[in-house]
Symmetry: C2
Subunit: 136 residues, 2 copies
């Protein structure tokens, strides 16, 4: 099984629809109108409804658990800085960079970023730490 | 409108069902069997399916946006350490403690913890930073 190594990067494209944002509001109970109500959002600096930060960040949960390093990952911690508003039906890229893979402890510290595909601007940045006995 | 102040605490009880975990798996794409497959989970140290960390953490998104400080909150950042596995149909308490409310910058730094209701043990800990022009 292929192991992840220090310096390695991984990218995955993703986007969310308004229907997915609505579903996340129901699931989390976060019905903040900034995420759901176009008229309300139009009166704010964001102009349009923005995606919940936790829904956006869930792309890292998906990638770390399914793809990179993948099955067997145990999520230890995550930091998230929400730098810019993220919108529905907009193409984003999740970029993971392995800052340190410790093959003895089977742990990796991974830089986690979300970029807007068109502009390349960083929307969300942070770090994750995962344990994976097979792939680190 | 009531403002939040340094040292203030806020608690809210919550729990998630397996149906909600399944819905989060669909929404996020994180179909890691540790969250969904009781037979798979039984062979791991967790013994039973565990809640996605991002689903558990979404309780902070809900509380910060809806309740404390509430409407108008802009999420700036969040750290999460997943200390112990969290399970479905289990009573948890989200506890928020205002570490620093800056009335000039309208920003607050808030300690965010999840405790198991029965044992009082801390399952998840971290910090959030929010901006709220009305309530900080």
């Amino acid at each position: 099984m292929e192991k992840i190594t220090t310096g390695q990067t991984y990218e995955q494209a993703f986007q969310f629809s308004q229907e997915q944002v609505n579903a996340f509001a129901l699931l989390s109970g976060d019905h903040n109108p900034i995420h759901l109500d176009a008229e309300y959002a139009a009166k704010t600096a964001f102009r349009r409804p923005i995606i919940h930060g936790f829904l956006a960040g869930s792309v890292f949960s998906k990638i770390l658990g399914m793809d990179f390093p993948g099955e067997g990952s145990i999520y230890l911690n995550q930091t998230l800085s929400f730098l810019r508003p993220m919108y529905v039906d907009t193409a984003y890229i999740a970029r993971l960079t392995v800052l340190e893979a410790d093959a003895t402890k089977r742990r990796a510290r991974i830089k986690t970023e979300i970029l807007e595909q068109e502009s390349g601007r960083i929307m969300t940045e942070g770090e994750a730490e995962v344990l994976n006995k097979q792939r680190i």
